[in-house]
Symmetry: C2
Subunit: 270 residues, 2 copies
DNA sequence: GCTGGACCCTCCCCCGGGGGGAGCGTGCAC
DNA sequence: GTGCACGCTCCCCCCGGGGGAGGGTCCAGC
């Protein structure tokens, strides 16, 4: 140690609380390069001034930020850009927390011993032309996407003839990515920005109403699924949701009502 | 479909919102066995009554419960045992959330442009005999372990001569598992349950005080590490923390004071 | 100067919880 | 009878490391 604070990997490990293995991996990944590497022996040498960087990396990894994103953050010297990138990840954590809350609520309902009976209605829906926003989205981006889409719809649809609704491709749930469409019925669907007219096909829907938070809506999906199969029907096409009463109407989640409609067709016994 | 709701893997996938791939994997793992498998073709067939189970699994996986634990939960028919196992995992989620909060706080401090100067004192500490509880613990169990240990110490140490403190092996931070010791100084260390007398060796400590929540204590660790190296010292042995003012004393986190001491020895220039 | 032990190196395989895709067999509707 | 959606297995890939083998290096004590 030349007094100036040159450290072996072991010393640096003790001071940064990162394992030796992990430090080597970060070197390989180009994430945290040692201040110098001995050509002859391959020994890595770190500088004391790298401890803060190591700590930032450590904290980001504790927040499950992928190494590639960590790299972008620590590479960007500009504190502004840094702050933005970090803020992005904190937002991602927020939405993940939201998802976790939903899963917990849903789990509680699932584990309740006596599920209340489910009202399901079979309803023929004619083809309708509506104002819509549609995109290919990832499952965990849906909430953010929804917020943007509904705002855009609200801005350009001035004479809605019904509550908003959405169509969600099955792949969205099964593969974590798929097509999503949010619409608002109106007599004269405008075309503006992402909003454009779409004609929803006529379908026969098995419809039920989910009451309460969206977090545990999957439970209702499951119950509806059981009903559908139990009544000798099969699923055809994307799920439809209709936001009869939602957060836009009242802050009380227990009053929210979401209609879930699954397009079905009758199957004969096999 | 014999009217009774026998489903192919694809149908079951649509109804359960689990991907076909994932269903096959759950079969292989013995987690969700199809109701029947065709010997000739290998086709899996699921029953409608398996949808609720699939949903429970789905929710648990969203909470990052490992498949092996999910298996234990869904296998245990007894709702009581189920509820207990699930509650355990919810507690784990809680503590993870705590850790996340800590990392966020720590990150904010790290990204602040101007770190306040650090007061470090070099202090020779004589050997002391104290009442202690010690264990090998995992890094993410430390909080829970601490709670139990401090309660046990409080229960049997009636005449403490100082505030509590802890010794934490470096491996705990670097490898995620290591030795932890919580102590309370007293004239006559009792022996009761996990509490027993321990003689802490004499060391020279580089000591600084961390003010505020424990969540961002790693930042102070890093600053202390930099100081240690910058002063031509090297680290020897487990970190010592002394809980001068903590949650047991006041509910206001900004008043908490934790002394961090790192055993050091002087190294000559290399 | 030698030796032992702590420390360092690279390399390969392992984990969980899937995804992508190849290559091939099946069931059903037209 | 034929197309094609759906089913099957098998293998390799992803991330962020951990375990351990096999071997080189540094340094203190003798």
């Amino acid at each position: 140690m030349h007094g100036g604070g040159v450290l072996t990997i072991g010393e640096f490990s003790r001071l940064s609380h990162l394992s030796v293995r992990t430090l080597r991996r970060y070197h390989d990944a180009g994430l945290l390069e040692p201040a110098s590497v001995d050509d002859a022996t391959g020994y890595r040498h770190y500088g004391v001034d790298q401890i803060p960087t190591a700590q930032v990396i450590h904290r980001l990894r504790e927040l499950d930020v992928p190494l590639s994103d960590v790299q972008r953050i620590v590479r960007s010297g500009d504190p502004e850009i840094r702050a933005t990138l970090v803020a992005d990840h904190l937002r991602r954590l927020e939405s993940e927390l939201e998802r976790t809350r939903g899963a917990v609520a849903s789990l509680r309902r699932l584990l309740e011993p006596e599920p209340p009976p489910l009202d399901v209605e079979l309803r023929a829906v004619p083809a309708t032309t509506v104002a819509a926003v549609e995109d290919d989205v990832a499952y965990d981006e849906v909430l953010a996407w929804y917020a943007g889409a509904i705002a855009e719809l609200d801005a350009v649809v001035h004479d809605p003839t019904g509550v908003p609704g959405g169509l969600y491709d099955n792949a969205l749930f099964e593969d974590g990515r798929g097509h999503a469409l949010l619409y608002r019925p109106t007599a004269h669907p405008p075309r503006s920005g992402r909003v454009h007219p779409v004609t929803l096909p006529a379908v026969e829907l098995a419809v039920t109403t989910h009451v309460g938070e969206h977090g545990d809506i999957e439970v209702t999906y499951g119950e509806l699924g059981t009903w559908v199969v139990g009544n000798a029907l099969a699923v055809a096409g994307p799920v439809r949701e209709t936001y009869v009463v939602g957060p836009r109407d009242t802050a009380d989640p227990s009053a929210w009502r979401t209609e879930i409609g699954w397009p079905v067709f009758r199957v004969g016994p096999r």
